[in-house]
Structures are given as structure tokens and as C-alpha cells.
Amino acid sequence: MESIKIKKITSVWIITVLVLFVASIVLGILMRLNQGGALNQAPINFYSNMTIHGLTMIGIWFVAGMAGINFLMERYVKTSYKANLTAFILTVIGVVMLWVITLVGKFHVAWTFLYPMPFKIMWAKWATPAFLVAMSILSIGWLIWSISMMTQILKKYSIAQAFAWQHFTKDPSVKTPPFILISMITLVGVITCLFVAVVLMALYFAEFLSKGSFVNDALLMKNLTYFFGHTIANEMLYLGLAVLYELFAEVGGKAKWQTSWYVALAWNFTLIFILTAFFHHLYMDFVQPEGFQIIGQLASYMASLPAAAVTVFSVWVAVYRTKIKWSLTNLLFFIGVAGWVIGGFGAVIDATISNNVVLHNTLWVPAHFHSYNVMGNVLFSLAFFYWFSIQFTEKVVNERLSKLVLSLLIIGGAGFLLAFYLGGADSIPRRYSNYPAEFTSAKPLALVGAAFATVYLIPILILFVTITKRCIKVLFSSR
């Protein structure tokens, strides 16, 4: 009985994410077309689309990771169906509100909603309070879910075991599965940044309700905003990685990965560094003390190191001269790791202060974060979706279709991203609805990006259809 429920809610999550993903990609392509001059949207529409594209993408890939974790977590501990369902309902309410606020209310603050922009009303008056409410609803829903999941883990594992500290001793008596370790590390990070969101929203509400007698500090608000935004964007990738650690070996027909002392060490370090890396968003705010800037650079380097090095190397070693049952699932994982690494290079280059001076807020920024989303995290989650969908339905797998899907994903993704990178190196600003004439390469690059993004959309649609069909079957089956 219980396991049917979790199957069904996971199916619902997957369908929801895929629907919103397709819609947001379409918005993304429209943006690129507009930047290329092929469309002529009013800037207010462009920026509203941009805002909802960013918010939705971050939101859905976060919940996709959480849904995956939640489903697989059942292998180790019982999870709370109620928390899962609550999170789903609040997510749907929050996301629907956000779409109405941006597309009807024309609320266009970009997904980072930097203070004090939400208060400089340039849209429907109700949009600002509604936005604050929607963000609070999402934060609270996800907070409930994360804390509940953490509680279930802690029922079985002590804190030390959940963080795999016993692996620092010679012969650990209890083995912590990597999946539990990474989930735990990530959940603590997620809970932290959701608390940041709560504090941020509280400060916004305080100013909103005080009618001008309380004013926030722009620097503090910017720090909080990126503490939240940067951290959640990174943690959602780790959620995807936890799934990879659990499934990559299994799908390839290999023995499960085991935690070792330096895996434990690497992930424990990751938790610390990921919480201070957000300082790199404020490099160009010279008001931030130099010490913090340097911490930002070092933490950005260190945050990418342990998790990346351990994971990437493990995947290499797991594949190198090893007979593997390749399937769409682990190929998506494998390509996703490659995309993540390449995006990581772009990120480390940009996280270097002396480079950031000429890259900050150019197209280099969307270039690198789209790399480890479009070609990284999304593929991790799609791998899970696909794997999930064939667990409970017929296992007829169409090899040719898989090949087509993968090649189109790679071609489309690579071309789309390359247009961003070249634009960034050409000093083209990000978040411009139309490009000034002096950027001669900007429009052609935007059109190239739009074309390749369309190529990327095709395999997504194929996966959407096949996965959704199976998930609907799961929904209506009674087993």
C-alpha cells in the first residue's frame, strides 16, 4: 500500500516537472529569438519571461532532485508521504502564483529579485506582495519536506553515521551508504539556504508592512539573496548526484559503491565550502571587505573540488575498461558528468576575481550555469525519470530512439551553450532584451543559440512523451 503511494506521487512529480520544463524551454528559445532580432517582444514581456524562466527552472530541478531522493530513500528508511504530498501541493500553488505574477502581473525582477527592485513598482501593484507570499509558500513547503526527510534518516542513523564520520576510523563497524551521506550533506545545505530564504522574506515583509519606516540595507539583502539563490542552485545538483551514486553502478550491472574515508571527507568539506562560495556573486561590490572576496574565491575553488574530484574520478574508474551494460539511464549520467565538469571549468574561471572583472554579468554567466544544468543536472534527473518509468512498466527499450535522443541532446546542448560562451568572451551583457548595435556578433550568436536550443527540445519532447506515458500508467495502476 505504502509503496504504491510513493510510486504515484513520484510519477506526479515527474509529469509536473516535465510539463514545466518544456514550457520554460519554449520561453528560453523565445528569449534567444528576441535577442537575435527574429522576434520583437516588448522589453517588459521579455523580462517577465526571463524572470519566470529562471524561477521555474530552478524550482523544478530542485523538486526533481528531491523527488528522486525521496523515492530512492525508501530503500533505506521510511519517508513521510504526508510531507511529500504537502511539498507537492505547496509547490504547485507557489509555481502557479509565480506564473500569474510574472505573465499577468508583468512582474519582471529577474529570478534574483535584487533588493530594492521588488519595491520599485513597475508592474501590477499586487504583484510584489503576491511574489513575497509565493516565495514564502515555496520555502516553507520545501523546508517541511527537507526537515522531514532528515528526520527519517536520523531515526536510523546517528548524526555521526549520517555524515559518515566513523569512516575516519580504521575499521568502521557501520557502513554509511554514499546515498545516505550525500543526501544528508545536501539536506543540511538545503535547509540552511531555505532558512536564508525565510530570513530574506521576513526582512522584505518588514519593510513592506512598515510603509517606509523600516528600510533594509542593500548590501545585506544582496548577500542574503545570493546565499539563498546560489546555494539552492548548487544543492540541487548534489541531489542529482546522490541519485547518480545510487543508480550508476546498479544500472550498469555492477556492485554498489561504498563510502571510504576520503569520500566521507570530501562530502563533509563540500558542505562547509558550498555555504561560503556565494560570496563570488559580490566580487564587483567593492563594498564587501576584501577578506570576504578572497574567501569567496577560495571557497568557490574548494567547493568544486572534493565533490567533483571524487565523483568524476569514481565515474571514470567505474567505466574504465569495465564491462558495463550501457543504457539510456547511465549514458545520461555519464554525459551529465561530462557536462558538469565542463560547466565547472567555466565556473572556476569566472570565480577568479581577476577574470570576473571582465566576465561578471556577461553571457559567460548563463553560459556556465546552463552548462551544468542543461547538460548536467537535467540529465541526472532525466536519467532518474527514465529509470523510474521503466521500473514498473514494460521494458521494451528502443535502442535506435535512445541513440537519437542522446545525439540530439549533445548536439543541441553543445551549440546552445557555445553561443553563450562565445558571447561572454565577446563582452556581451547578459539580461539584455535587445543588443546594442556595437555588439556585432550578439544577434547571430543569439539566433544560433535559438536554433540549437530547438534541436535540444526535440529529444526532450521524445522523453517527455515516453516517460509521461509510462508515469500515467503507474498513476492508474493499482499495484
Partner: protein
């Protein structure tokens, strides 16, 4: 389409400027920063004539502008300056030059002022008059207005930092906190701070406050807001663990 932008921008600007408040005084302090001070000749009682250049080429200085007949801010201003400076150990040496902007003042009257303040024999302090008041004032962006009814100057209490090359590095108007004075002194020694805050109605929640002595930003209360969520997360972790594991936390 672009026309509507301009229109829009104008509206935003108009609504904005009506709400902008008391930044103006702070902005006055920005006038003529990094301009050179006019090299006015100076006369100190009982000393050979000199000029600003001879002083700054030896040591950077803080310039205070007063007039001896002032019944207003000048003397509290100087007393306050004296106390703040005496209370404070400064690493690098500098001078304080008090110059009158009143053409009626003589070098002797300035010496009397020094004696009244108990500063006559302090080598740090120099009291002088100049015959190029207008040029000096102009180079400092200082504009006292003579009020012939009250027989007084209407003026700001102005402190100006001059570095070793004769450039104006910072200005302070009015009686100010010790912190800001220290910032002025730091600036004449060419200590560069990449930023500073503008006066803000709410500094309660700011992340950092600039400390000119160390040249660093000191953590403000706002930083607590950055640390708070992490502390809360650890708290939740411990509480949850304690409640589900009956006190066996680890």
C-alpha cells in the same frame, strides 16, 4: 517604443527625487576631492612666512577653518577636535593646521586662540593666517557668507585632509564621530579604502562598518543575519536527532 522608455524613466526619476532625503550634506563633502589645495602663504606668529606647500611636503596635515570672533561653532569644534585627537594614539604623525578665513584676524589673535585652547606649545598644532583667503576657500570648495546684521560668518565647521602631495583626500563638515575623524587621518596617509557608506537611515542591519584605524571593515549586526540560517540548520539537526534518538546524538 523608446519614447515610452524615456517617459517612463522620467516618471521614475521624478517620483524618486521627491523622496530623496538628507544625502546633500554628505555630498558637499565630496566637492573638490583630489584637487590640489591652493598654495596660500601662511603667517604664524613669531615664525618666518611659509606656505601650505612647505607644510605638506614635510608631513600631511588636517586643516581646520575658523575665525576668532566666532560665537558659534568654531570653538566647540576646536575643543572637540583637540580632545578626539589627544585621546587617540596615531601610528603615523601628522599636523593640524588651523587657519582663519576672516581677513580681520591677525597672527597674534590666532596665537591667543592657541593659548586659550592650551595648544600653544604643542608641536602638532599650527595656528596661522593667510592673505589669500579667497583662493584658499575656492580650492577647498568652502564658502562662508558674511552676515552683516549678526556681524558673523555663516559657515560650516570644515575639516580638510591634505596628503603629502597637497591633494585634498577627504573633507568632514560639522562635529563628527571619532571614527570619521580617524578615516580622515587615514586618508591623508593615502590609506585606500575601496568603499565607504553613505549616511543611511538604517544602519542597524548593515553587514559592515568601516574601521579606519585598521583600514578594515568591521562586522556589523547584519552579518549575524548571514550566520543565523546556518546556526538554525545545525540547531534543527541537533534537535531532531535528539528527539528521535532519545539523547544518543552521536
Amino acid at each position: 517604443m523608446y519614447k515610452s522608455f524615456v517617459f517612463f524613466a522620467l516618471i521614475v526619476l521624478l517620483t524618486h527625487s521627491s523622496s530623496a532625503q538628507s544625502f546633500s550634506d554628505a555630498m558637499k563633502e565630496e566637492i573638490n576631492i583630489y584637487q590640489k589645495i591652493y598654495d596660500a602663504p601662511l603667517q604664524v606668529a613669531g615664525k618666518p612666512p611659509a606656505s601650505f606647500k612647505e607644510f605638506y611636503s614635510q608631513q600631511p596635515f588636517v586643516l581646520a577653518l575658523v575665525f576668532t570672533r566666532c560665537v558659534g561653532i568654531c570653538s566647540p569644534f576646536l575643543v572637540n577636535l583637540k580632545e578626539t585627537i589627544q585621546l587617540q594614539p596615531f601610528e603615523k604623525d601628522f599636523k593640524i593646521i588651523v587657519v582663519s578665513f576672516d581677513p580681520w584676524d591677525t597672527a597674534d589673535e590666532m596665537e591667543l586662540l592657541a593659548r586659550n585652547l592650551g595648544l600653544k606649545s604643542d608641536p602638532k598644532w599650527i595656528f596661522a593666517v593667510t592673505d589669500s583667503i579667497d583662493q584658499m576657500n575656492r580650492s577647498l570648495g568652502f564658502d562662508p557668507v558674511w552676515d552683516s546684521v549678526r556681524m558673523q560668518f555663516d559657515h560650516d565647521a570644515l575639516l580638510v585632509g591634505i596628503n603629502g602631495d597637497g591633494y585634498i583626500t577627504k573633507k568632514l563638515i560639522g562635529l563628527r564621530e571619532r571614527n570619521e575623524l580617524n578615516q580622515l587621518v587615514a586618508s591623508i596617509h593615502n590609506v585606500f579604502s575601496p568603499t565607504y557608506r553613505l549616511p543611511n537611515p538604517n544602519i542597524l542591519f548593515s553587514c559592515f562598518n568601516y574601521d579606519p584605524i585598521s583600514g578594515k571593515n568591521k562586522p556589523g549586526l547584519g552579518l549575524a543575519f548571514l550566520a543565523l540560517p546556518a546556526v538554525m540548520a545545525v540547531g534543527v539537526l541537533l534537535i531532531v536527532s535528539m528527539s528521535v534518538r532519545k539523547r544518543k546524538i552521536l
